[in-house]
Subunit: 373 residues, 2 copies
Amino acid sequence: MHGEMKKVTNADDLRGKPLDAADTPALLLDVDAAEANLQTMAEYFNGRPCKLRPHFKSHKCTTLARRQVALGAVGITCAKLGEAEVLAAAGINDILIANQVVGAVKMPRLVEVARRSTLRVAVDSQANVRELSQAASAAGVEVGLLIEVDVGMRRCGVPPGEPALELARFIKTCPGVRFDGIQAYEGHLVCRPDPDERATLTRRDMQLAVDTRRLIERAGIEVPILSGGGTGTYDITGPMDGIDELQSGSYALMDCSYVRIRLEFRNAMNVLATVISKPDPKRVVLDVGLKGLSCEFGPPTLVDRPGDEIPFLASEEHVGVNLCGDHPAEIGQKLRLIPSHGCTTCNLYRQYVVHRNAVIEDVWPIEGAGAMT
Amino acid sequence: MHGEMKKVTNADDLRGKPLDAADTPALLLDVDAAEANLQTMAEYFNGRPCKLRPHFKSHKCTTLARRQVALGAVGITCAKLGEAEVLAAAGINDILIANQVVGAVKMPRLVEVARRSTLRVAVDSQANVRELSQAASAAGVEVGLLIEVDVGMRRCGVPPGEPALELARFIKTCPGVRFDGIQAYEGHLVCRPDPDERATLTRRDMQLAVDTRRLIERAGIEVPILSGGGTGTYDITGPMDGIDELQSGSYALMDCSYVRIRLEFRNAMNVLATVISKPDPKRVVLDVGLKGLSCEFGPPTLVDRPGDEIPFLASEEHVGVNLCGDHPAEIGQKLRLIPSHGCTTCNLYRQYVVHRNAVIEDVWPIEGAGAMT
């Protein structure tokens, strides 16, 4: 729940020590790599018409969010109200919730965030706009709304074109809410491995959002923001004429899925695990499984152990490693893994063990991981 | 980390209210169904030579663990040291950690639990036995050891037969540790859908553990405990001659995978979610995804909505429902889902919203979900 306390343990005990001092499983953050990633993305957007509003869902850590803003991000994108509360409490004063916030239970929380920060929310129905309008106007706050347009992901969103214009006109009649533009996420394309195909399809589909923008503008309604994009498409969607904000998140820490297609960013998030069993000379078992590594993008990979392989991830507390014989692996030894999906893996932990060149520097709370609702 | 504070929110606000009062996503616990499940399993083991030691990993909630002990369980099984700490703090005084506990960082924590409770741990290597022996004897405590025997799951464990006898002999030479027997888990069989096949294969494979027991006994070493079994096999493994303890866990709350093969237990764990989008008349989107539902056993199912279907689970914060048209589904409406895997889903939450006939009765902390290590 959003009020949950996060207790960060061990920071003083761990500073200055090697990684082996961390209890396992631990979520490691390589701060050199993370800083390089933040810098690379900030430089890309420096001086461009399109601005960066990094997504909080990928690292869920306010220490990183504040650094992203310090490097020039116009604000932070997040996935849900609980994350927005965490961000507002951390002093982030310009927040986009890139999903629909629905339900009477959430409205008092929403208006509280809107009192503290500039707040925008995605919408795709008159019913939701009406609910937000009533809550905001009753509380005397204003909430910015971005109409979510479905450009092919088939999740939420109104179709491009007239349905979006119709909803924009409706928003303009509602008190307490401000029509701030459009959101479109090409989530069906961000992980396409072939870069040319990814670029061609992204330009085709995001053009639907740009065309919708033009349609609304031709109807005499200003469209301040068109927001979209991800780590796989930031340099495709970002430079498109008519795109104002980019929502990339995974670039900060990267996972083994994105590392394969985005070579300009370095993997900065690892899971540290201990060998707890060596059932035969060619196989060891580590003390982390589905409760410390997400599996929807497949098993994790290993750091600096070419030839060793994790064929699958199916146990709650274990992964098995098939050894090629080139690297030592004894009971008690600690190995580093690269999660296949960083966004859902960081959700399983409550802190990053932050290191530079494998010397522990700090422990950072993952405040967003406790924000369920 | 194991010291994390759990703040239970909203309990006073929610008591006596309908389920719709809960913010979403919420993890619901149907206490009538859970009590019936606990009773059914307790009655099965009542008066049998084999005793029940329910697994904590499936519900991670000390309120349920205490009820299981009150109904006759000899103690609680858990998956890791952090869970054992939570159990000991809750007054459970007989704990089995059914996995290997490895590493210098964990030893001071382990001996602390051993001071407070009767503690047993699974082992499968001399290296680990030596580490446990040194830590326990230095601290002046005794830790019971169960040799894990691999009966076909191919995860951890020594092979049946001589290797187990050899490790038992080694344990007998080590101070601070006590040879308490054998653990074998037929995890490769517990979910086999065909009951006859499940029974035949389970008896075949668990006999390897029983035979290993006899081998060790013939060598003059007493084997106080042979522990194994799961919810899918409790009534197959449990009655076998030579089995002393059963580790079932999922029976308490059940998920949509186990509900299909174990009809004597009722589903008691649901996720409550809100319809946040209705992109077309035949499809709605709910406000829960991979960060509130695990996916390794497939998508969740819906409660009381025959014909409606969740075809896949691939988004972090959304699931789409294909509507058959027989049930209302409007924006703001709340629906109940049955997770496909309860053990990993409850790990994502910090509390159960406990209800009886859909009236909220209490909120119970899920203390084990914060126990990462």
